[in-house]
Each structure stands twice: as structure tokens, then as C-alpha cells.
Amino acid sequence: MPLRRTLLAAFLLLLSGSGSASAHGTTIRVVIQNLEFSPAEVTAKVGDTIEWVNKDVLLHTATDKGGAWDVSIDPGKTGRLVLDTAGTFEYDCKYHPNMKGKIVVAKASQH
């Protein structure tokens, strides 16, 4: 009996665990080097996280042109954004507007 209960609990935990993993989505990495976002264009889903890794010695930002978000990314550091809205977002660095990127966010998949 106790073993069965433990197994059941473990099974339920596994279910809830996998559920929360899908709610957190996946992480998509964009590298910033020599004033370029790479890849310049990514596709993602609501709930995914964009992670910008800044390999330059300069402070950069990822700033949505529509004003939805503005992420500051220190030199040598990483900036993150959880995507909570579907749509197409064009962004640039507000300090170096010649740096351009795009994120296409699809609605979260239904399970």
C-alpha cells in the first residue's frame, strides 16, 4: 500500500511537473556580437523566453518599436524577456538603431 501510494504521488508529481515545464516554454538564445543580433529573426510561442547574450563591450538594448518592451543588456551579460503576447515584434537597440531584430510570436499550443 505505501509503495503504491508513493508511486501514485510520484506519477502525479511527474504530470504536474511536465505541465509546468510546458507553461514555462522554451528559451531561445540570441547572441549580440559586433553590433548584430544573431539570429536576426526568430520564431517563438507565447510563454517562451528570449535570452539575449551580449558579447560586446557596449551596453545594448532590445527595444520593441511598438513600445511593448525594452530590455537592457549589459556588456558581457544576458538579458531575458518572457513573451506574453502573440504577434510580430520588430526591435532595435535604442543606442545603436542600426542593430535590428524581429521576433514572430505564435499563440501558445493547446494540449
Binding site: 553590433l35 563591450v57 557596449l58 551596453l59 556588456p75 543606442y95 538603431p97 542593430m99
Partner: protein, 173 residues
């Protein structure tokens, strides 16, 4: 407008005169000196703006210039040290310094919106001139690959500054 034109003309003259007259390419020690000097001059201009301006966009732009040009010049110093190159003063560096000093004296007499506009317009012009010099003279003339690569990154940064300055200029109109 005429002031801006005069500055651009002076800077264009500064960046081409030495090498056009002699027909000689600038050497790596001279190129390093010119690039470093341009950065220092832009930092000095930004510091003047931080002393005089109360406009948030202008101040933010000036802070960006101090931060970026300081970071780039630190890289330049690291590189010349590594390559064992001693930057060499030259007519182009001297002409750039002379023009920028004259501009700073001129801006010192302005205040408020008049200062903001003149500073930002000069930033557009200054970056345009430096970018032109980088593209047409300094990058093609650089013989060391690492120096060339740093200048190419510098060009991208300063092209970004030029666009940023244009955005700030538009917001002041």
C-alpha cells in the same frame, strides 16, 4: 545651418588634407591616433553637453557617447599595447582637435534649446565625417588585421551613433 556646414567642411578637410596632399596612406600608428582622438573629442563634447543641457533626451545621448567611446578607446589602448604600436600625432589629428575645440567654444556661448540643437546637429555632422574618414581612408589604409577589425567595429558603432543623433535631432524639432 551655415555653422554646421562650416564644421563639416573643416572636418572633411581635416580628414583628407594630409593624405591627399602627400598622396601617402596614413600609417597604423597615425590611424590609431586619429581614431583615438576622434573618440576623445566626442567624449569632451558630451561632457560639455552634460554640464549645459537640461533636456533628458540630449543628456541621455551624451551619456551614451561617454560610455561607448570610453569602451571603444579602452579596446584601442589594449590593442596598441598588445601590438606594441605607439600612436603618432599627425596633421589629421591636429586638424580634428582644432575644429572640435572651435566648436566647443562656439557652443559654450549658447544655452537652452539653442545649445541642445547645435550640439546634436554637430554630433550628426561629426559622426558623419568620422565615418566617412573610416570608410574611405582609415579602414582601407590599415595594414594590421586586428586594427582593421577594430576600426570596422568602430564604424558600425559610430553609424549607430549617427542614426541615434538623427533621432534625437528630429525629436528636438
Amino acid at each position: 545651418m551655415s555653422i554646421r556646414f562650416a564644421t563639416v567642411a573643416a572636418l572633411c578637410f581635416a580628414s583628407t588634407t594630409l593624405f591627399a596632399q602627400t598622396g601617402a596612406k596614413p600609417t597604423d600608428p597615425q590611424i590609431a591616433h586619429i581614431a583615438y582622438t576622434a573618440g576623445e573629442l566626442d567624449i569632451a563634447a558630451a561632457k560639455q553637453a552634460l554640464e549645459k543641457s537640461k533636456n533628458a533626451d540630449v543628456r541621455s545621448f551624451a551619456e551614451d557617447m561617454v560610455r561607448d567611446h570610453t569602451a571603444v578607446n579602452e579596446q584601442a589602448l589594449d590593442l596598441v599595447k598588445k601590438l606594441n604600436v605607439t600612436p603618432e600625432d599627425n596633421d589629421t589629428s591636429r586638424a580634428l582637435t582644432k575644429a572640435a575645440t572651435a566648436k566647443r567654444d562656439e557652443l559654450a556661448k549658447l544655452s537652452g534649446a539653442a545649445f541642445d540643437t547645435a550640439y546634436v546637429e554637430n554630433e550628426v555632422a561629426f559622426h558623419k565625417t568620422v565615418n566617412n574618414a573610416l570608410e574611405t581612408t582609415l579602414i582601407p589604409s590599415a595594414s594590421n588585421a586586428e586594427l582593421k577589425s577594430l576600426l570596422q567595429t568602430g564604424l558600425k558603432i559610430f553609424q549607430g551613433h549617427e542614426q541615434h543623433a538623427e533621432h534625437v535631432a528630429a525629436s528636438l524639432e
